[in-house]
């Protein structure tokens, strides 16, 4: 199955930009996502249900395309971490914003991933994408061998190469910048997540307070008592609306800036990985060059071949990487801008709403006898 997929490259039969993850179903420990995509041919949609295994399958295939020159130069759209139904503290930390709520943020992130893949010039040609989006049979239910992951784990041993001096100033600059940005973005994302979590706690606390106030209501004809009961009920309403307000503030945070920062953070990681892959290739190439120089005449030709192959591969990678980086930079800024603007607008709306509510309650209290 894998073979046939790999060989075939064709145009995607669906639009990449409006793929949607419309629903998520929880079945025991696994989550099943309903993915909807519109056909290019005209009317009609594909509705498929996919699990995280299928997503992993897709990723495998993307990583292991062998006929794409400079594949290692591609910044692969980052796939969200595996969702865990019973989110532990550790799992929560890994998932970050995506672990919040009823998986809506996760769906959003998955949707973004699929859109990125389906819109990517190099990746969308892969048959696996088509299958993933359109086939009614879930493709990824059997385990596949993890080429690129193996390669990556092997690459871990070569971590020292990370500090390897680049031949290209552009890439050297990119690598330095990426290193800083990865740290900063990650940090900002985590801090922002803490803010959101605290906001949720406040919302919950407001809710409890509001509920407890209802218990203070005393029955009876006594006007003083009734007055106090009215105050309690009203205050309970106030807190309920404060709770809602805080909830929507937190939700706004998650849906806009939260997801934006999360995506940014994961993309930075993906870029880092790409740059690292390129650096590894660079090291490989340099080794090949050295061995070609030192090689005895008998092996000289073979070594030259290896060197040439490596050179051309490295060139491919570098070319693709340059494009990818340029693409990433513009998309990244745009994405962050959208996140910020959306965030700001939503929060503004929420703040105005709650100001109105406070005003109303204030009038109500003032009017209270």
């Amino acid at each position: 199955m894998m073979e046939e997929v790999q060989d075939v490259t064709s145009a995607l039969s669906v639009h990449g930009h409006n793929i949607k993850v419309t629903d998520v179903l929880k079945d025991g420990d696994t989550l099943t996502f309903v993915i909807v995509s519109q056909k290019v041919s005209g009317t009609g949609e594909y509705h498929v249900d996919r699990t995280y295994d299928d997503v992993e399958w897709l990723q495998q295939h993307l990583f292991s395309q062998e006929d794409v020159p400079g594949l290692h130069g591609v910044i692969f759209p980052p796939v969200p971490a595996k969702p865990q139904v019973n989110v532990t503290a550790k799992g929560m930390k890994q998932l970050g914003f995506l672990g919040l709520g009823e998986w809506q943020p996760y769906c959003k992130a998955l949707e973004t991933f699929l859109r990125q893949v389906a819109s990517h010039d190099l990746l969308k040609k892969n048959k696996a994408v088509e299958i993933f989006l359109t086939s009614s049979d879930p493709p990824g239910r059997q385990r596949v061998k993890k080429n690129i992951f193996n390669w990556l784990s092997q690459a871990m041993d070569e971590m020292r190469k990370e500090g390897h001096k680049d031949v290209d100033e552009f890439f050297q600059a990119q690598r330095d910048q990426n290193l800083v940005m990865t740290g900063c973005t990650k940090n900002a994302t985590e801090r922002f997540l803490e803010v959101v979590l605290t906001e949720q706690k406040i919302a919950v606390a407001c809710g409890h307070f509001s509920a407890a106030l209802h218990l203070c209501v005393e029955a009876g004809e006594d006007p003083v008592k009734q007055a106090f009961s009215r105050i309690c009920v009203k205050l309970s309403e106030v807190l309920e609306s404060m709770k809602k307000n805080m909830m929507s503030v937190a939700e706004n945070n998650v849906n806009t800036l939260g997801l934006g920062l999360d995506l940014e953070s994961r993309y930075q990681e993906a870029e880092k990985e790409m740059l690292f892959r390129r650096t590894c290739k660079l090291v490989e190439l340099e080794t090949a060059r050295r061995s070609a120089e030192k090689a005895k005449p008998v092996k000289k030709a073979a070594m030259e071949e290896v060197k040439k192959a490596a050179e051309s591969e490295f060139d491919h990678i570098s070319r693709v990487a340059k494009q990818e980086i340029a693409q990433f930079e513009s998309e990244r800024v745009q994405m962050l801008q959208q996140a910020l603007v959306g965030w700001c607008e939503q929060q503004l709306l929420t703040a105005k709403e709650s100001a109105d509510q406070f005003d109303r309650y204030l009038q109500a209290f003032r009017g209270m006898a």
Binding site: Q177, V180, M181, C184, T185, N187, A188, E190, R191, F192, E194, V195, T198, E199, K201, I202, A205, C206, H208, F209, A212, L213, L215, C216, E218, D222, V224, K225, A227, F228, I231, K234, L235, V238, M242, E329, V333, Q334, L336, Q337, L340, V341, W343, C344, E345, Q347, L348, A351, K352, S354, A355, F358, D359, Y361, L362, F365, R366, M368
Partner: protein, 787 residues
């Protein structure tokens, strides 16, 4: 404090219960009631039937009973004589009863001197013996304390005495004289003590005079009423002037008292007794004693207004005795008040209620005399209680109007917490500033410096004085060892500043609540606390932290509730209220925990926002894209502002809800304490009733066994206990009324307080939201400008 509740049985010098016959117990109750009625009847209709031996004892309870028929007779006369103008004549008439007093005192001296208590023909002897014991022991206790005024007092006493004894026909033996002197010395001592030690004390006279008054009321049967003697008058006048003139000169703090008593005095005794005019402070007490005396001798001078006042009271209480059922008695109690109202003299109520009050005090003193170690401090408490009583009652009358006004022209602020000293001896001092236009204060604004223990000391003083009367005394914040230790160690972190600020606010609200309370505001200690430059160090609070104090209250509460668990609450209102208070306490505690967690989260949010702001700033500086970098820096600034906003909200939550609710948890404790005090009053009343029952049974048995001499004694005891029962019942009714009013006031205040606080809270919430909107609106163009 708890000790007063664990009342030891009052001393019965001749408790001859040993001959109690069990077989008669069933019938005892019935016969008691009959007896009671018989007594009342006999006093009016056939007072002389049992003349030989029983008359004295039958008239023994005459302070109540004797006058009841009188009242009936003089009913038409009540109105004219309740008008203050008539008081002069009353003053004249007083001279008549006064010789009763003389006689009485003579009588008193006799039994006391030779220690004989069973003289059948001396009616006053037995009961007065009681009093004598009390007075004697008191005087001893007091004398040790008050050496300063002793001279003065004794001189006055001696003068009065000698006159008295001189005019009396009975040959005054030296021994008698001595004893008599001790008794009067006791009187004067106490008053002298009062002048010397404290402002509350003067009322001591009230308490002491009353026992004497009781004696006086016993007097008529045995007295030769026709003998005119100014001596007793003199005695009283001397007392009055010495006592009250002197403190007035020396003590500036006298003034509050004047205002306390000034008004009723003028109402009732507009021109009382001519020369006594000067002694306006305690004139009333003296007058009262005269009054009661008059009541006692009513048969001699029936046209006495004070007597009417008194007998008026007696009327209502007399039936109470005949009906032992609580419900009935309750209605009676209410009735008596109403009647008093009808007579339109505030002071009437005051008077009628005051006398039993002081009587109770006297009883208390009996107990305390038994425990000499406790006598000194608690005596002063008792004295102060007796004094504040009339004021409190008066206040109750006026309270409704005052409450409706709701404008207390006094504002207290607590500012500038300052750590004084170093190490573990350090303490916090606060500036207490008062702004007022009330005439009772010398200045419009004044500031004093007080330390925390002073606040606690004030609370304890107020509690001791007003607690037993059923007032809800607003409690100060508890001592907080942890917070204070932090302060002492000198850690200037956010939690300690938070602690200081919280406490400052709590103290301010505590004081404001006190001055908002119409009765507490009148308390001299409150004014002293607000006005006086240097306050004597509150010592007891050092060992007794607020929390410990509350714990003690709770312990006492538990003990009391256990003790009176069988209290068959006949008043549904109280039953319901108590339950409400209990559940409100639970709910407030829950709310408090919830608000505290909300505050914790708010603070957390503020901290997290700050760190997000920091990381955003870093991200912004790392960012290559200039527009994005700029926007991120702006965002960092925005988040910094938001941090402040969140912090403000946390503070707002704290002070609007957490502290308010904490206040009310403490206040509910005070409410419960007031319920407990009511229960104690009830318990005392019940105990007295039980005792009365026993005495009656004893009497019945004695009657059966035909032991006339002992019977005499028993009858006297019965009379004594009947009086006590009446007084305790009235005490209970009064405390009940006070508690009721206080609880209603508390609830009203609660609703008002919460409403105001919520409005302030919403205002600040609205403000912060509007601020937030501004922030967002400022940021939006920055975000849009990125691309």
């Amino acid at each position: 404090m708890a000790s007063s509740s664990e009342r030891s049985p009052p001393p019965f010098p001749d408790s001859e219960d040993q001959d109690v016959l069990d077989s008669e117990e069933v019938g005892g109750r019935e016969s008691d009631e009959d007896d009671g009625e018989d007594l009342f009847m006999s006093t009016s209709e056939q007072p002389l039937t049992e003349m030989d031996t029983t008359l004295p004892s039958a008239t023994q309870p005459s302070d109540v009973l004797m006058s009841s028929p009188l009242d009936i007779m003089s009913d038409p006369l009540i109105e004219p004589f309740s008008s203050p103008v008539e008081n002069k004549s009353a003053g004249e008439v007083v001279s008549e009863p006064s010789d009763d007093f003389v006689d009485l005192t003579n009588n008193v001296t006799e039994p006391a001197a030779d220690g004989v208590t069973t003289e059948a023909n001396d009616s006053a002897a037995i009961s007065s013996d009681d009093f004598f014991d009390i007075l004697g022991s008191e005087s001893e206790a007091l004398r040790e304390e008050v050496v300063v005024v002793d001279d003065n007092a004794e001189a006055a006493a001696a003068a009065g005495k000698s006159e008295v004894t001189g005019s009396v026909t009975d040959p005054p033996g030296t021994g008698k004289q001595e004893v008599k002197e001790t008794s009067t010395a006791a009187v004067v001592d106490i008053s002298g003590d009062s002048s010397a030690s404290d402002t509350q004390q003067p009322s001591g006279i009230d308490k002491i005079v009353n026992p004497l008054v009781d004696l006086l009321s016993d007097a008529p049967p045995s007295a030769d009423a026709k003998k005119p003697s100014r001596a007793a008058m003199d005695l009283f006048e001397d007392e009055g002037s010495d006592l009250f003139a002197e403190p007035r000169q020396t003590k500036s703090a006298k003034q509050p008292q004047k205002s306390l008593f000034g008004e009723p005095d003028e109402d009732l005794f507009g021109e009382p007794l001519g020369a006594a005019k000067k002694k306006s402070i305690n004139k009333e007490h003296k007058d009262k004693s005269v009054t009661i005396k008059a009541a006692a001798v009513n048969n001699a001078g029936p046209l006495q207004e004070p007597a009417d006042l008194f007998s008026e009271e007696a009327v209502t209480t007399a039936p109470t005795k005949s009906n032992t059922s609580t419900v009935q008695s309750k209605t009676n109690g209410v009735h008596s008040e109403e009647e008093a109202d009808i007579f339109a003299a505030e002071a009437t109520v005051e008077l009628s209620l005051d006398s039993p009050r002081s009587e109770r005090k006297k009883k208390k003193e009996e107990e305390e005399a038994d425990k000499p170690s406790a006598s000194a401090p608690s005596l002063s408490v008792a004295a102060s209680l007796a004094k504040t009583q009339p004021a409190a009652l008066e206040e109750l009358e006026e309270e409704d109007e005052e409450e409706q006004e709701d404008t207390f022209d006094i504002f207290v602020s607590v500012k500038d917490p300052e750590k004084i000293g170093d190490g573990m001896n350090a303490y916090m001092a606060y500036k207490v500033s008062t702004q007022t236009t009330l005439a009772m204060f010398r200045n419009k604004t004044f500031t004093v410096r007080r330390r925390f223990s002073d606040f606690l000391g004030l609370y304890e003083k107020l509690c001791e004085k007003h607690g037993p009367n059923g007032f809800i005394v607003p409690p100060p914040p508890e001592k907080n060892l942890l917070g204070m230790t932090k302060m002492k160690v000198g850690k200037e972190d956010s939690s300690s500043t938070d602690f200081v600020e919280r406490r400052r606010g709590a103290l301010e609200r505590y004081l404001q609540r006190i001055v908002n309370h119409p009765s507490l505001l009148q308390d001299p200690d409150v004014r002293e606390f607000l006005e006086r430059e240097e306050l004597p160090r509150a010592v007891s609070t050092q060992a007794l932290s607020g929390a410990g104090f509350l714990k003690m209250i709770n312990k006492a509460t538990d003990a009391v509730s256990k003790m009176t668990i069988k209290m068959n609450e006949s008043d549904v209102w109280f039953e319901e209220k108590l339950q409400e208070v209990e559940s409100a306490d639970q709910q407030f505690r829950k709310l408090h925990a919830l608000v505290e967690s909300l505050v914790v989260h708010r603070k957390e949010l503020s901290v997290n926002t700050a760190s997000f702001a920091k990381s955003t700033a870093m991200l912004g500086s790392a960012e290559d894209n200039t527009a994005l970098s700029r926007a991120l820096s702006q965002l960092a600034e925005l988040e910094d502002k938001m941090e402040q906003l969140h912090q403000d909200q946390a503070t707002n939550d704290t002070f609007s809800f957490a502290e308010l609710i904490a206040d009310y948890i403490r206040l509910l404790g005070s409410v419960r304490a007031s319920f407990d005090h009511r229960m104690k009053a009830w318990q005392r009343w019940q105990d007295a009733q039980t005792m009365l029952q026993k005495k009656r049974e004893t009497e019945a048995k004695l009657l059966w066994a035909n032991k006339p001499d002992k019977l005499q004694l028993a009858k006297e005891e019965i009379a004594e206990w009947e009086a006590k029962v009446t007084q305790y019942e009235r005490d209970f009714e009064r405390v009940s009324t006070t508690v009721r009013k206080e609880v209603l006031r508390f609830e009203k205040e609660k609703a008002r307080n919460f409403k105001l606080r919520i409005i302030t809270y919403l205002e600040s919430q609205l403000q912060s939201q509007q601020q937030l909107i501004k922030y967002w609106e400022a940021f939006l163009p920055e975000a849009k400008a990125i691309a």
